[in-house]
Symmetry: C2
Subunit: 527 residues, 2 copies
């Protein structure tokens, strides 16, 4: 498990370029051991060609075989042991306990996809059998199922170095759907990326998968990413990161390729949270504490961090804000993921601090701490400002949130109507509040992928019913989720087999249903 | 049922512009009565605003209510009676019997979507219930279903004036999914468009739907289409037509809007057909006759028209080509849909006739017939030419096909490997042929949406298992179908409800399952 600093191209270690970089510990800004080699466009192309070749084999693997592969990846990640936890914690500034939780989530989601593959019904099999005596024309036999697209490029995220990185949600769902994967590792945690790549390669060997089913290319330059996005053998992209990066990839995949491909960019969100009047009165202290924890969790570096808190201007407002401010003042500054993220956060905070329409309610004063620590900030403005100033809706990635005070119910609704797309929206509300604000719920339902009542949005459960997605600009494709088992469907397309002999049909579509999956058979759901 | 020549904006007749045009009978090139008013960008915007307002109401209609609406549209189309058949036949040059069949398909597909809505399981409901005592963290309650996107813009096709026009597959699937529709009528059959719009408006009244749920804007200019594609309230586009038109719309929807939207452009395909050696020997005459009928059906103006016919160069080739040529010579020239389509077809034919690498095997000589008649053409080239010359893979919309003769099995496979995406691929093959060409089947499966054995690709069944789609350039989005009940999923996105009280959940997601639909409940499919 010695780090090499090199790229992993279809099972081979490769370092053909000259550009190098090092990991940095954001807690104290010191460089970490091992020099990493940025992949060249030629290395990316080699990964794509090997992935394409592997696809011819991998696409025919059974659900059981792919499930064994995913389980083996999970096992090999666990086998990395403390080496992974230590390196990952050093590269991200996240405490070991958090990395352990994230490792459990990462292996858990691989294993959940494995159960879906073993069960098998996810392919949406549909069978309409022949009706030879139909008038005026006979009907032929049609059978439909989801099939994998081909090589998928994955851009790892900075903020989940395991769960949304090399063997994270995008990789797990793409491999589950039958697609080879090329990961562009995030340059903030290159050692973590390499360790996980080692684990995947061991699983490839152990379960006898074609080596080209997985490659890892390292580096932070635009050239590496664009080589991946524009390669003709790459058929889809999964991305989690900034709006700028996500949109550049999305547009390149349409405008810079002969064949446009789907791009699933999850680009960030400010996750509006509404505290309705009775809840503000009755649960003020509970919400103030929970909100502080949610905003500052992981130094505020969650895609689902609630950054816009709406409430009415009533008698309970002052007490709530006082309580929240007190909690914010008690938050200890912790490391952000890297220098760039810390600098961007500080710029965003300064913009609000210097804005005459914004009041700073709380911030623990600048400490002379080492590393890239993010200081929790609580701001306030009114709904009129929010409605007029579009930039107030934008994400400031880090431990900061903006209270938005509405003078009337109508102003609260107008704020919601004016919003763009987000990953989540949350309501804190009593039963009466909900009855009084059904119109607000209807507006929010059209703005987000996940709508939550009386819980905080941070923490994204990996399950069948999760939607981690939402209307633009939260993502480039609102019709998908990047967390949960439905994520597999991003990397497939339907194929119809007409008048096929039984022997040539995939098992999923054979008449006697050897896999025992749920199918739509002549319009009826049955096994 | 008097034609007004005007646009239908949310139930109101509107003609604010000055640009006008007339329908033309392509059988004799004469103008038809009624002057039509092209919609202005302001009228398109009005339709979008009214559609957006209607969405607030229509999105909450139950499956039963939407089903009644679709059934009523089908009934009102039938109630148009012979007036529709006659006008449509006059505008398209298609014989009345064909229009009657197409009407039955159009009303049949509306009624099929209605049955899917009444059954209700199409929303892909997923429920993961709370686990309060889970360690280390409790699990909340998550419920997921597909919800409609908003106003959908539909560009009617020329070649199916009913089944892919105002109340065609795109409109039916969008209305079924809960989206209001604005149709941009095809300027080749404006009277047909208006008659069907009248039928839809009657159904809107009869079933008490919000008037903005449907609008028809007429006109052939780019301005009308682009006003629709770029309006902020329009959330998705369905298009069937040329590659140029489809790509312009697809790119505008990404590059010319603040919020990119999904575009489903079905842009054409040459539908390769392979005649394998034993089949060529044993079924030569049957295939020759069937192929001629398939290529010349509807004057060759089918998206699934087989335009590339591959076969090996063996002893049976000459006899097959002689038979096919004889049949082609017997085909009577019939009207094409309009002057532009006829001119483009003649240009395409001339390009092949003048190409030294292409042999013309059959064409009934130029008749001095009136109107825009298309003459059936049969061409031949070899696989080497096909592999080298990319343009030979392009569609020549009309009654023309190209035989491609391979000198070896390997050359046949290389031709298949070299191909881009198509809607369909077809194999004529005996059992032995299929056993000898499994590699060909695997290649083709990755190139098309529908793979057919021993039947011709023309004729697209409307059923649950149909895929009318395929990899680029056949469509702009291979992950969808524009025919069959899965077409509804193009216009929806998943929404997750977390920790919702029962009373606020949609019926599809209530625990006691009042609609009795199939759901994924804690990982198990059940009702």
């Amino acid at each position: 498990m010695e780090l090499t600093g090199k790229n992993y191209i279809a099972g081979n270690i490769s370092a053909k370029g000259t550009a190098t970089f090092k990991g940095v510990n954001p807690s104290d800004a010191t460089e970490l051991p091992t020099t990493f080699y940025e992949a060249t466009p030629e290395e990316v192309a080699e990964a794509a060609v090997k992935g394409h070749e592997a696809f011819a084999v991998y696409r025919k693997k059974s659900g059981q075989e792919k499930a064994d592969f995913l389980d083996a990846i999970a096992d090999e990640i666990n086998n990395l042991g403390n080496v992974l936890i230590e390196r990952c914690s050093a590269e991200t500034g996240l405490p070991p306990a958090r990395i352990e939780t994230e490792r459990a989530r990462t292996t858990g989601q691989l294993k959940l996809f494995a159960t879906v593959l073993r069960e098998g019904s996810w392919v949406d099999a549909r069978i309409d059998t022949a009706i030879p005596d139909r008038k005026p024309m006979p009907r032929s036999d049609f059978r439909y199922m989801q099939k994998p697209l081909g090589v998928v490029g994955v851009f790892g995220a900075s903020n989940f170095p395991l769960a949304f990185s090399v063997a994270g949600g995008d990789t797990a769902s793409a491999l589950a759907s039958g697609c080879p994967v090329i990961v562009k590792g995030h340059p903030s945690h290159p050692g973590t990326c390499e360790l996980v790549a080692m684990a995947i390669n061991k699983a490839v060997e152990k379960t006898n998968m074609p080596k080209g089913v997985f490659s890892l290319v390292q580096g932070g330059s635009i050239a590496v990413g664009m080589a991946l996005v524009t390669h003709p053998y790459v058929k889809a992209i999964g991305f989690t990161g900034s709006t700028g990066g996500g949109m550049a990839i999305f547009k390149a995949a349409i405008n810079e390729r002969d064949e446009p491909i789907p791009v699933y960019s999850e680009m960030g969100s400010t996750n509006p949270l509404f505290i309705l009047p009775e809840a503000l009165k009755e649960k003020s202290e509970e919400i103030a504490k929970g909100l502080t924890d949610s905003v500052t969790l992981g130094t505020g570096q969650f895609c689902t961090n609630p950054g816009l808190i709406f409430m009415n201007n009533d008698d309970n407002l002052e007490e709530f804000q006082k309580q929240t401010a007190k909690h914010f003042e008690e938050v200890e500054a912790t490391a952000m993921l890297n220098k760039g993220i810390k600098a961007a956060f500080d710029r965003g905070v300064a913009e609000l601090v210097n804005n005459p329409d914004i009041v700073k309610l709380a911030a623990k004063g600048k400490e002379s701490s080492e590393g890239y620590k993010g200081i929790a900030h609580l701001f306030e403005t009114n709904a009129k400002n929010f409605i007029e100033k579009a930039f107030l809706e934008e994400e400031n990635f880090g431990p900061s949130t903006l209270n938005i005070v509405a003078d009337s119910r109508e102003e609260l609704l107008a704020s919601a109507r004016k919003m763009k797309g987000h990953l989540t929206a949350t309501l804190f509300a009593t039963e009466n509040d909900l009855a009084n604000y059904t119109d607000l719920i209807e507006i929010l339902e059209q703005k987000v992928g996940r709508l939550i009542i009386n819980e905080f949005p941070t923490g994204v459960e990996v399950c069948h019913a999760m939607v981690h997605g939402g209307p633009f600009p939260a993502t480039s494709n609102s019709r998908s989720t990047s967390v949960g088992t439905a994520a597999m469907l991003r990397f497939t397309r339907p194929v119809c087999y007409q008048n096929f002999p039984e022997s040539l049909l995939p098992d999923e579509l054979k008449t006697n249903n050897p896999l025992g999956i749920m199918r739509l058979f002549n319009g009826e759901y049955k096994r």
